[in-house]
């Protein structure tokens, strides 16, 4: 086994990330090492590339960071879609998978309750942060209010982006129609 093959095998063993992104990374590293070995020799090529454990850890961290951002977005986008009540679930919230994995029922949350809780937590957080930074009571209350408005605006924008209001309106219309039929 050549020094480059040995190096790539060590890199492969040290990597945690799976799938296409792993294959592509290893392919690129092998290419790089082959080019460097042709120019400077195998020993120099693997030495200049860095320790396999450090390179693998750096790559794993990058992929995890990207996936973390994406999974947060998917969670946020998935929840209102599901709570809309429609059968069309665009993305399955990760909590469902977690619930299946650990076999503990995780209750679904009503979107209005989710909005109230999120707004309260954000406003309280802003208030505590401001007070910790020695803001006056009125300043901290204003900041908390701004935070609450921002959270509600985010929910509204997200709902609009996901087409949530169209189906909500349709459901409300159906309810009103039903009520007037009974009460009228």
């Amino acid at each position: 086994m050549s020094a480059v093959d040995r190096y790539v095998a060590e890199l492969d063993a040290a990597l945690h990330v799976r799938g296409a992104v792993r294959r592509r990374f290893l392919h690129e590293c092998r290419d790089h090492l082959a080019d460097a070995a042709a120019e400077h020799g195998q020993e120099h090529a693997v030495r200049a590339f860095g320790r396999p454990s450090e390179i693998a850890a750096a790559f794993d961290a990058e992929v995890a960071a990207r996936r973390g951002v994406r999974s947060t977005f998917v969670s946020v986008a998935g929840v209102p879609r599901r709570l809309d009540g429609s059968a069309a679930v665009a993305v399955r919230p990760p909590l469902e998978d977690l619930g299946q994995l650990i076999r503990v029922p995780i209750p679904s949350v009503d979107i209005r309750r989710l909005l109230v809780v999120t707004t309260c937590v954000a406003a309280a957080g802003a208030f505590v942060r401001d007070r910790a930074e020695h803001a006056t009571l009125s300043q901290a209350l204003v900041t908390a209010g701004i935070e609450a408005v921002a959270v509600v605006a985010c929910f509204l924008l997200l709902g609009r982006a996901l087409g949530l209001y169209g189906s909500l309106r349709a459901r409300l219309g159906a309810t009103r129609g039903g009520s007037s039929g009974i009460l009228g």
């Binding site: 992104v21 990374f25 590293c29 790089h32 450090e54 390179i55 750096a58 992929v63």
Partner: protein, 107 residues
């Protein structure tokens, strides 16, 4: 130059050498070595996590290209990447001027 000093500037350095022309990882590593006079002691393998980060941030795009009997991943700047190069050059000038005023004035 110590690797930890360079690490914080690696993204900007990669974008700057990509501004010359698109290239694959090894080519970019050679450009860094040539243009720095071999002074930057960055492990060559650390370019790939950085390229992945830049691609995720929309500053570069990449595609496979067949040539010299081998498939290679070629990286190129996006328009956001070109703007980032311009911004990082301005930022670097201000930063190096400020550091030089402190460290460069000693005996």
């Amino acid at each position: 130059v110590r690797a930890d000093l360079v690490r914080g500037h690696l993204d900007a350095l990669l974008l700057a050498v990509l501004a010359d022309a698109p290239g694959h990882g090894y080519e970019l590593s050679r450009r860094l070595t040539l243009r720095s006079g071999g002074e930057l002691g960055v492990p060559e393998g650390s370019l790939y996590p950085a390229l992945h980060r830049l691609e995720g941030g929309g500053l570069v795009v990449s595609s496979w290209s067949a040539g010299e009997g081998r498939r290679r991943r070629i990286y190129r700047l996006t328009s956001a990447g070109r703007r980032a190069v311009k911004a990082s050059r301005q930022e670097w000038r201000a930063f190096s001027r400020a550091i030089d005023q402190i460290l460069g004035s000693g005996a």
